[in-house]
Structures are given as C-alpha cells and as structure tokens.
C-alpha cells in the first residue's frame, strides 16, 4: 500500500503541475480558431534555377519575411514547407488581398547610387527611420492595431523618401552571383559580394562614382533600403574592380548572416506564386470554436455519467483518471507549443475516447474475473494485467495511422495527427497508472471493498466469498 500512496502523491503532483502549466502557458490557437489568413506560396523553378535547394528556399523565405514585415501584421509567421513551399500565417487579417499583391512575384534587388547633394537629407531620413523601427519593435506585440498601422504607414513613407535620394544604375540582383558572411578578426564580420562579369563592370562604375564623396551606394530589396555602405577614396580612380567586394561595418555574426541571406534571396530569379489562401474571419472562428467545444464537452459529460452508472466505483475512478488525463494532455500541448486547430480539438476529443476504451477493457476484464469467483483484489490486478496486451496493440495501431497522417499530411491534418498521438500516449499512461493506483488506493479502505460496487448481479456465493477474503 505504501507504494500506491507514493504513486498517488506523484500523480496528484503531476496533475497540479500540469494545471499550473495550463494557466501560465496559454495554448496557441490556429488561424481557423482565432481568425486570420494563411497563404501557401509555391516557389517556382525557372530555366536559370532548375532546382530549389534548401539554401535557396531559405533565401526566398528571407525575402518573403522582408515583404511581410512591410505589411505591419503582428505575429506573422513564415515557415518553409516541404521542398519548395512557404507557409505564411497572418493572424487577424480578414482580407488577404494586400498580402497577396505583395507576396507574389520575383524579388527585386538592385544597387543604386546616391544623388549628389542629398547627404544631409539622407542622414536625417535615416535617423527618423531608425526611430520608427525601434517604435515598431516596441508596439509589435501590443495588439494595438491602430498604432501598428500608423507606424507602418510612416515607415512606408520614410522608405519612399529614402528611395528618392538614390538613382538606379542598372545593376540588378541577377548579376549578383553570391553573397556570404565572413569573419574578419575576432569579433567582427563582413559580407562578401561576388558579381558576374557584367555586374562587376557596373559595380566598378557605380563605386567609382561615389568613392570618397561621402555619398553612399544603396542596396535595395523590393524598393526598400537594405544597406547603404560608403566607398573609400582609394577607389575613386578605378572603382572596385574584379567583381568582388565586401561590406564592412559594425556587423556581428547574426547581422552579417541576415544581410547575406537577404542579398542571396534578392538575387534569386525565382518567381513566387500564391497557390493557396485560407481566410477565416475572427468572429466566424470564435463561433465555430465555441460551438464545437460546447458540443464536445456535452458529449464528454454524458460519457462520464455513463461510466459511473455502468461501472460504479471503478467508473467513478475512471472519471477522475479521465479528468487528470485531460489536464495532463492539455499541459503537454502547451509545453510542446502545439497550435490548436479545430481538427486538433477533434483529435483531442477522440483521444479521450481511446482513454475511455482502455478503462472499459480493464473493468470488463475485472468483472469477468469477479464472476469467475476470484477475490476483489486479485480480480482488479488481473483486469489490468490481462487487458494490457489489448490496450497496447490497439494503441499502437492507432499510432501507426497517426504517424502516416503526420508524415504525409499538411497543416490542419498534421495538427489532428499530433493531438491524437499525444492523447493516445498519455491515455496509456493514465489508464495503466492513474486508474490502477486510484483503484488500489480505494481498495485500501474497507468501506469501499464491496464487490457489488464493482459488478452488479454477482452470484451471492461468490459475492460473500470475495468480500470475506479480500
């Protein structure tokens, strides 16, 4: 009995900890529940780029992130999916039109020269933009949509103003062959550039024009200034020749890497096509979540009542185990940062069905043993022992189906498979430990040791025998 008490304490502590987790770490809701737009972008191959490698996909992702940033949507997410797709999630966006217009198409990277006489203006505009960016960082997660939109509008204006200080030179991204981050010295990094022949010549011309003048050359991605390095006076004669150059500055490893990926992405001549859009209005999402959750809870309540009415004392214990099960599973969702979608909720509700099934198997077995005349304690033990192989086999087969779904499915399907699989695993644990421990602890109280609370209509002889020997 000492061991059971200890286990009971552990289970209760776990349940308590799980409850705390649920309160502290909120579960992330999918876009179908909180409302928003989800876009799938197909990265297309072209003759020049016949294959999309993971590095290229990452570069395109950077470009897309750049464009999303310009939309001013809080908590937007860009993920890579499979070999050549990107998934963009825009919470709270009910009209994806603007995003669609911005996201499609090929990245436009080009190198421009600063117009003479704009040095001071550029410095001022640049400073103003830094302030706006800092402001954006600060309000990004505040949820204050109006402030975010205002900030974004100001940023757009400032981008345009800055772009106005530069002249196009005809040196475009397709002439940039590579961009990479490289360390110089111990703490500092630079970004190396490699142009093709035509690009090298144009770059030499461009750098000759601005070298030593205090003006800069501007690197623009989708008409937005990425970097504005100046060129030192020693190149005033010839420009930077040979098609190679490096941008130095106060880069750390991360900043240099980011700029290099942005440049590579901008240089990739791959078009991006919006191939799927799913948009759910916020109130519609809230509506369907509420209705489904209420319906699910109603159904579960009926199940809990059914268990007590049919299985009596073990049924009550199973109900307690099921509640502990739900708390544990939800806590795991929070800890693993599972995004809860509507199919995900369905998966969770179904996994409760699996948890109930484990208990039903055990209690039916227990009843059989009781009817065969075994003592109460032995019957309970035998019920758990004999039901185990059924529970294991049936759960493994469900997990196989979940694995297939998770592996091949996308988006919503994955969410469903994940929640069902987590649920099945936790249900094995709770059925075999929680129900068992609780039941054995209950058997420790003489008042509860009545076979008829386990199985109605037992033949009287076995009943009294069981009662006497347990």
């Amino acid at each position: 009995m000492g061991r059971q008490r200890l286990l009971l304490a552990v289970i209760l502590a776990l349940a308590f900890a799980a409850a705390v987790v649920i309160v502290v770490v909120p579960v992330r809701l999918g876009l179908d529940l909180q409302g928003g737009s989800q876009l799938t972008l197909q990265v297309k191959t072209t003759e020049a780029v016949p294959e999309i490698t993971p590095e290229k996909l990452e570069a395109v992702q950077q470009v897309v992130e750049n464009r999303i940033n310009g939309l001013g949507v809080a908590e937007a997410i860009v993920q890579t999916v499979g070999e050549d797709q990107l998934l963009v999630q825009l919470p709270g966006v009910s009209d994806p039109g603007q995003a669609e217009r911005v996201l499609g198409g090929t990245a436009q990277l080009d190198f421009r020269a600063q117009r003479s006489g704009t040095e001071e203006q550029l410095a001022i505009a640049f400073q103003a933009q830094q302030i706006l960016l800092a402001e954006k960082e600060r309000i990004q997660d505040s949820g204050d949509e109006e402030a975010i939109a205002q900030n974004q509008a100001a940023l757009d204006q400032s981008n345009e103003a800055i772009a106005g200080f530069f002249d196009r030179t005809g040196l475009t991204g397709d002439m940039l062959q590579n961009a990479f981050a490289a360390p110089i010295g111990t703490n500092s990094w630079e970004v190396g550039l490699e142009f093709n022949q035509e690009g090298g010549e144009k770059f030499a011309e461009l750098t000759r024009g601005v070298a030593g003048t205090g003006r800069t050359l501007g690197i623009f991605l989708d008409n937005e200034l990425l970097s504005a390095p100046s060129v030192s006076a020693e190149y005033a004669e010839t420009g930077i020749t040979g098609g190679r150059a490096s941008i130095t500055g106060r880069f750390d490893a991360q900043a240099a890497g980011e700029l290099a990926v942005q440049l590579r992405g901008g240089a990739l001549p791959v078009p991006v096509e919006v191939s799927e859009i799913r948009t759910v209005g916020a109130t519609l999402g809230r509506d369907s979540i509420q209705r489904s959750i209420y319906a699910g809870l109603g159904g579960l309540l009926l199940v809990l009542i059914f268990m007590v009415v049919y299985y009596r004392l073990p049924g009550l214990i199973a109900d307690i185990a099921l509640i502990i099960y739900s708390i544990l599973t939800f806590a795991i969702f929070s800890l693993l940062n599972v995004t809860l979608t509507l199919p995900g909720i369905a998966g969770f509700i179904l996994s409760i069905g699996m948890a109930v099934d484990a208990n039903v198997l055990i209690f039916e077995r227990t009843r059989e043993e009781l009817r065969a005349g075994k003592t109460l304690y032995r019957s309970v033990e035998a019920g758990f022992y004999r039901a185990f192989s059924s529970i294991l086999d049936s759960n493994v087969t469900t997990l196989i189906a979940c694995g297939a779904l998770f592996w091949f499915g996308a988006g919503l399907v994955k969410g469903f498979a994940l929640t069902l699989a987590i649920g099945v695993l936790v249900s094995m644990f709770t059925a075999l430990t929680c129900s068992r421990t609780l039941l054995l602890v209950a058997l420790g109280f003489p008042g509860l040791r009545k076979p008829r609370w386990f199985c109605p209509n037992l033949p009287p002889s076995t009943s009294s025998q069981a009662g006497a020997t347990s």
């Binding site: 197909q42 519609l284 049936s394």
Partner: protein, 319 residues
C-alpha cells in the same frame, strides 16, 4: 444474450455486400457526373470559395433575405456564371467559383457589397486553392492511407500471425469502403462534398476500427493458447461474446461525443463527425461479424497449426 456470429455468417456477409455494392454503384454514377467517385470540394480540384454574412448591425442591410437570383446575376456580370451559389441561412451565402486572383476577387466582393448589402468582414471565410495544391493534398492523403495499411499489416503479423493481419485489413477495407460509399450517396443526393478532413476521418477510422478487431483477436489468441484443441468456430463465438460488452460500451461512449459534435458542433466539423460516426459503427460491426467469421472460416478450412511465435502478453511489462 449470446450472439451466434458463426452460424449466421452468410447473413452478415450478405448485408455488408449489399451496402458496399450500393456504395460502388453511387461511386460509378458520381464518376460519370463529376469525374470522381465522390463530390470533391475545392481542396482537391482547386477553386475559390467565399462565405459571406451580411452585417445586420448596419441599417437596412437585413431587411430582406438574400436572393440567389440577384447573386447569380452579379456573378454572371463578372463572367462567373457557372459558379455554384448556396444560401446558408437567410443572410449568409457561400459562392464557389474557379480560381480567382486578387483583383477578380476584390472586384466581385465590391460588387456584392454594393448590390446585396454590407457584409461583415469578421464573419467572412475565403478559401482559394490552386489546382496543383489540390492534387498534392489528394495524393499525400492517399499515400498516408496506404502507408498506414502497410504499417498495420506488418505490426499485426508480428504481434499475431499473417492471417489475422490479412483479415483485419479486409475488415478495414470494408469500413472504409462503406464510409466512402455513404458519402458518395450523400454527394449525389444532398450535395455533400469531401475535403481534406474526410481523408483524415478515413485514417482515424482505420486506426479505431482495427482497434476493435485487435481486441477480439487478442481474446481468440488467448483462448487458443489455453486450449489449443478446441474447435475454432467455438473459440471465435466465445471471444466475440466475451468482448461484446466492451465493444458496445466503447462504441457508445465514442459515438456519444461524436453525435454531440455532429448535431451541435461548428459547420467545419459536422461532416467530419458524420464520417467518423459511420466509420466507427462499421468498425465495431465488421470486427464482430466480418473479421472474426472470416478468420474462423480460414482456420477451419486450412487449419494452420498455431505456432509458438505469437506474442505472449506476459512477456510485456504492465508496470
């Protein structure tokens, strides 16, 4: 109550065959009508779907229910005459068209907003699926289905024996076929469409229905081990009856929740729940009446000796 599953097996087989056949007939008719055994949603064939609800808080928007004819006329003006239109309740519509790009969609929305009334952007649902994505969803779904079948066969042949696994898979096909058949009939009669959630439902049915079969097989295996000489028909009959209460109770508890979701849950999950209700019911039915009777027939005809490789539950750790 004791079920005589073996004695009445030709009855069970006839019932199942009739249901499956009518499903197949429906699928053939569907194939002629929309080139697919089931009525596909835009998840699989691509297209744009707009679900719009009038914003009744605006003055004068909800005076009259939406008139389908009026909506059809607006669509025809935009060269979208072949689109399907459905009035959801009086003040909400669902329009399905070919794939629309941003400008076409914005134009359509503007026209609808001007002529029908102000729609509530917060209650809007817009889905656009390009044709390539649709094919991808379908093929990945089917692949998942096949892989899970193979995985389950391998696992069951390892834990039981190959003939158990084969009949469990036949029972699975039975359940999946009937569910697909019913949805094919629903597609023809009330226009129910299948989306990617339907494939999820099929896979869940696979997982759950094999569950029921395994529980009965587990009992058959246990009885055979205790009493190897016994007639297989009796063993199967007993095993089915010993596990019958469990089969009923488990199905009842799962169906309780699913029915609640079907009747009262959100629109998205309604047909998902219905597919599961049909599939799970069939799963319980097929494990009792199909998988076990087939196993008994096979064993009594070709009487495989029971080898010792079948796993012994005592070898597993039950904590």
């Amino acid at each position: 109550m004791k079920l005589q599953v073996i004695r009445q097996r030709s009855l069970w087989w006839t019932i199942s065959s009739v249901i499956i056949l009518s499903g197949i007939v429906a699928m053939v008719i569907s194939w002629n009508q929309f080139n697919s055994p089931l009525r596909p949603s835009l998840d699989f064939v691509g297209g744009t779907r707009l679900q719009l609800e009038l914003d009744c808080t605006q003055p004068d928007t909800c005076n009259n229910p939406i008139d389908v004819g009026e909506v059809r006329q607006i669509l025809a003006e935009q060269n979208l005459g072949s689109s399907s239109i459905q009035v959801l309740d009086q003040y909400a519509i669902s329009v399905r068209t070919t794939v629309l790009d941003v400008d076409q969609r914005t134009q359509l929305l503007t026209a609808l907003n001007e002529q029908i009334g102000t729609f509530d952007p917060q209650a809007t649902q817009i889905d656009t699926v390009g044709p390539t994505i649709g094919r991808q969803l379908l093929s990945s779904g089917l692949l998942a289905l096949i892989v899970s079948f193979v995985g389950i066969t391998i696992y069951l042949s390892l834990r039981f024996q190959l003939d158990y696994a084969v009949f469990a898979i036949i029972a699975l096909f039975h359940d999946v076929l009937i569910t697909v058949g019913v949805f094919s009939i629903l597609g023809l009669t009330i226009g129910t469409e299948v989306d990617s959630l339907f494939i999820v439902a099929l896979l869940t049915i696979v997982g759950f229905s094999v569950n029921d079969t395994v529980v009965i097989y587990d009992r058959i295996r246990e009885t055979i081990q205790q009493d190897p000489g016994r007639n297989i028909d009796d063993v199967v009959d007993d095993a089915v009856n010993q596990t019958l209460t469990r089969s009923i109770n488990t199905s009842v508890t799962v169906l309780l929740t699913l029915s609640a979701i079907f009747l009262f849950g959100g629109e998205t999950l309604k047909y998902f729940a219905l597919a599961l209700i049909i599939g799970f019911t069939m799963g319980a039915y097929s494990s009792i009446f199909i998988a076990s009777t087939l196993l008994a027939l096979w064993r009594s005809r070709f009487g495989q000796p029971i080898s010792a490789i079948s796993a012994d539950p005592s070898s597993s750790d039950d904590g």
